[in-house]
């Protein structure tokens, strides 16, 4: 794009881009830059911000609560990610078959994805209610005394994982289903003619060709998983006694309950850095396992 014509074209393009660009600048990039600035201050939102340099970051290094939040977030991911990936893959493989009512089943599994997080969290909070919940009632039919779920120190995060997996299963399923349908029938047929068993076909044909979709879902799920908040906020509030606290929950509490906007901003920046590094590593290592046909 050189010369007057090129500039005019650029002008027209930018005008078309402007509506989303203005919103992006005002409500995403602007606040992000502001967050970096706030993170270098001590600010309770009421008094004028007071510059502390890297003070907030130094405090973070020694903050047990923040370390617990990070550990809990990783714990959550360690439970959530394998379950949602394997479950989503299994569902996608099942619903990729030409079975009766396949459209209905796909829609049913996708329903939780379009449901509000608050609704899903409340639903699971009641399902997992230690005394009156359906889950513990069902367990008691088998003579099992169900745990305290979100009221228990040990079971609070597993409860959150359960709700999250249930909600996100459909999302993983839909992406993988699209990936599965993009795999040419001819390849499967060729493998079949060569005498490959169904397990061999899955391992040697389907999965390798599905890796781009798997890669995409893993990246998205990891990014979302690190930012886990709504379900924790509604189901446990970070409790009992702070045992299920996660990073974003602390960011919200620090800003709006504790009047520590600067400290919370520093936490946001650290979380951003963690997500950035992990995503960068994934992008780097994808060559080793992602197979683009």
């Amino acid at each position: 794009m050189v010369g007057a014509k090129g500039w005019r074209k650029a002008g027209i393009i930018s005008v078309f881009l402007a509506p989303s660009l203005v919103c992006l600048l005002a409500f995403s990039l602007g606040p992000m830059i502001a967050t970096a600035w706030v993170s270098a201050h001590e600010w309770n939102l009421i008094r004028a911000p007071h510059f502390v340099g890297f003070g907030n970051y130094r405090e973070l290094l020694h903050d047990e609560k923040f370390q617990r939040a990070l550990t809990n977030t990783v714990y959550y991911l360690a439970g959530y990610l394998p379950l949602v990936m394997i479950g989503g893959l299994a569902l996608a493989l099942l619903l990729n078959k030409r079975v009766r009512f396949v459209g209905l089943f796909r829609a049913l599994y996708f329903l939780p994805v379009v449901t509000s997080w608050v609704v899903v969290s409340l639903l699971w909070k009641w399902l997992l209610h230690p005394k009156d919940g359906v889950v513990n009632w069902a367990l008691s039919m088998f003579g099992i005394h169900g745990p305290g779920w979100w009221t228990s120190r040990t079971w609070a995060i597993p409860s959150v994982i359960l709700a999250s997996v249930w909600k996100d299963l459909g999302f993983v399923m839909v992406i993988l289903l699209a990936g599965l349908q993009a795999i040419p029938e001819t390849l499967q047929e060729a493998a079949l003619l060569d005498g490959a068993t169904s397990l061999q076909r899955l391992r040697l044909v389907t999965l390798p060709l599905l890796t781009p979709s798997l890669f995409f879902v893993i990246i998205i799920s990891l990014i979302n998983g690190f930012q886990v908040f709504d379900q924790v906020w509604v189901m446990t509030g970070g409790g009992p006694a702070g045992s299920s606290t996660v990073v974003v929950e602390q960011i919200v509490k620090n800003t709006f309950s504790y009047g520590r906007a600067g400290y919370a901003s520093a936490q946001s920046i650290v979380l951003f850095a963690v997500i950035l590094i992990i995503t960068a590593i994934q992008l780097r290592t994808q060559k080793r396992w992602v197979f683009y046909a």
Partner: protein, 457 residues
């Protein structure tokens, strides 16, 4: 040429679309922040005031002396007032107070904005941070120190208020460093609410003001019938109950050196008292946390004998069919009662400090307010006017309503620091960990003391 005009008009079209889009993204902001509009109005009012002033001076000499003071600042002034205690049940009552004030002060109009308590402080903080603070607003005692020490509040000391009008302890509660930052609007306290029928059935005499924890515990053990789902008592395991139990044991939350000292023998006694009951003579914390308003429902269903709760429950219990009465809470070594207070304050940045002070004084101390609050069983006005409370005392149940005022003889106010909410959460979590994790009271409190001390400046 023709092509050029087409491009030009399409540019215009695109620009129009752009304007729409920008409008769309900003509209989400203004709809969530309704109060921003209120402050904008105030600025408009401030602007007209300056332009209107010269013409006003020609009229002023003719006006009577009393109204001259009000007119001195000029044109009509709009003050915003942000509150959590009015909506949803008492908007009409607040409206009546506003109308009465506006009738007396025709040059001032009040623009009321409300938010639910759970969202109120978030909304308030963001308004203050955005330099859009409401002219006047409501603060509870626990949060007032944070706002006062952050310089967000107008000093009302010389703004023509009448200190004698207010209940002295409440007035003092909103005085920080000798400056009166707020006028106490309401107060409420905690009493022991008991179910008379359950006591009669168990053949136990009703609680008296002379009761101690031991008496309560003994009665609770007799009254508890787990098979029937009946519990002897319910006292929340929380910061607010802890500081009070600590005071009842004769302990101090902050020591003489202003450092946290609640891990004392008295502190351990208080924590043990609160944490030994759940799951035994009181419902478990899981039960309480699992269901919203669990305690209210339990008492209303007639399955709770004694309930440590506030006087704000009276009106709700009136229609529950439970035969109840109240008494001053049992103490331990001494009596100590929890009081909750709310004040009306003005923003340090208000353009109309004189009018703001006038409105706050009316809102908190006027006869209209006192009558409106008492007639509608809103919270109690914090005025020093025993005659005004005669009507309140006459309402039954509870028959022993005077306990509300007897409790004021031994008040223990909650400890307040600038980082209040964090401190409350630390203490709450420490108590929770004693109940759910079996941590010893000493270990839990030692840890909490260290954490609270780290919050102090």
């Amino acid at each position: 040429m023709n092509r050029r005009t087409v491009t030009r008009s399409s540019y215009a079209g695109i620009l129009a679309m752009l304007a729409l889009a920008v409008g769309a993204c900003s509209s989400t902001k203004s709809s969530t922040d309704t109060t921003a509009a209120a402050s904008a109005e105030t600025t408009v009012a401030a602007a007209t005031e300056t332009t209107g002033a010269p013409t006003e001076t020609t009229i002023a000499p003719a006006a009577p002396a009393t109204t001259a003071a009000a007119a001195a600042t000029g044109d009509k002034v709009t003050l915003s007032y942000f509150t959590f205690s009015a909506a949803p049940d008492h908007l009409k009552d607040l409206d009546a107070i506003v109308k009465a004030f506006e009738a007396k002060n025709p040059n001032i109009s009040i623009d009321v904005k409300t938010a639910a308590y759970a969202d109120y402080f978030t909304a308030l903080q963001t308004q203050v941070a955005g330099k859009n603070a409401p002219d006047t607003f409501e603060l509870n005692y626990e949060n007032s120190v944070t706002y006062a020490r952050s310089g967000a509040l107008l000093d009302l000391t010389d703004k023509g208020i009448d200190p004698a009008r207010y209940y002295p302890l409440a007035l003092k509660g909103f005085n920080d460093g000798g400056k009166q930052y707020g006028l106490p609007a309401t107060f409420s306290d905690v009493v022991l609410i008991y179910n008379k029928t359950l006591f009669d059935k168990a053949g136990i005499s009703y609680p008296t003001a002379a009761w101690t924890w031991k008496d309560e515990q003994a009665a609770a053990e007799k009254l508890t019938d787990l098979k029937a789902g009946v519990y002897g008592h319910l006292q929340p395991v929380s910061f607010f109950e802890f500081y009070k139990a600590l005071a009842q044991s004769g302990g101090q939350f902050f020591g003489a050196d202003a450092k946290a000292a609640f891990n004392s023998a008295e502190g351990i006694e208080a924590a043990t008292w609160l944490t030994s009951k759940p799951g035994k003579t009181m419902p478990s914390l899981t039960d309480i946390a699992g269901t919203p308003d669990f305690d209210t429902a339990l008492f209303k269903s007639g399955k709770l004998a004694m309930w440590h709760n506030g006087i704000w429950q009276f009106s709700g219990l009136k229609d529950s069919g439970v035969d109840f009465d109240v008494v001053v809470e049992p103490g331990n070594k001494v009596k100590a009662n929890a009081v909750f207070m709310n004040a009306a304050v003005a923003s340090a940045t208000t353009a109309h400090p004189v009018e703001a002070a006038k409105w706050i004084a009316f809102l908190t101390g006027s006869q209209t307010t006192v009558e409106t609050r008492l007639a509608s069983s809103w919270e109690l006005p914090a005025v020093n006017d025993s005659a005004a409370f005669a009507a309140y005392l006459a309402v039954k149940p509870p028959a022993n309503r005077k306990a509300v005022f007897e409790a004021l003889d031994n008040v223990a106010l909650p400890p307040v620091i600038e980082r209040q909410q964090e401190m409350q959460d630390i203490v709450g979590k420490a108590l929770e960990s004693i109940v759910s994790d079996g941590v010893s009271a000493k270990d839990a409190l030692d840890r909490a003391v260290t954490e609270v001390n780290a919050l102090l400046p």
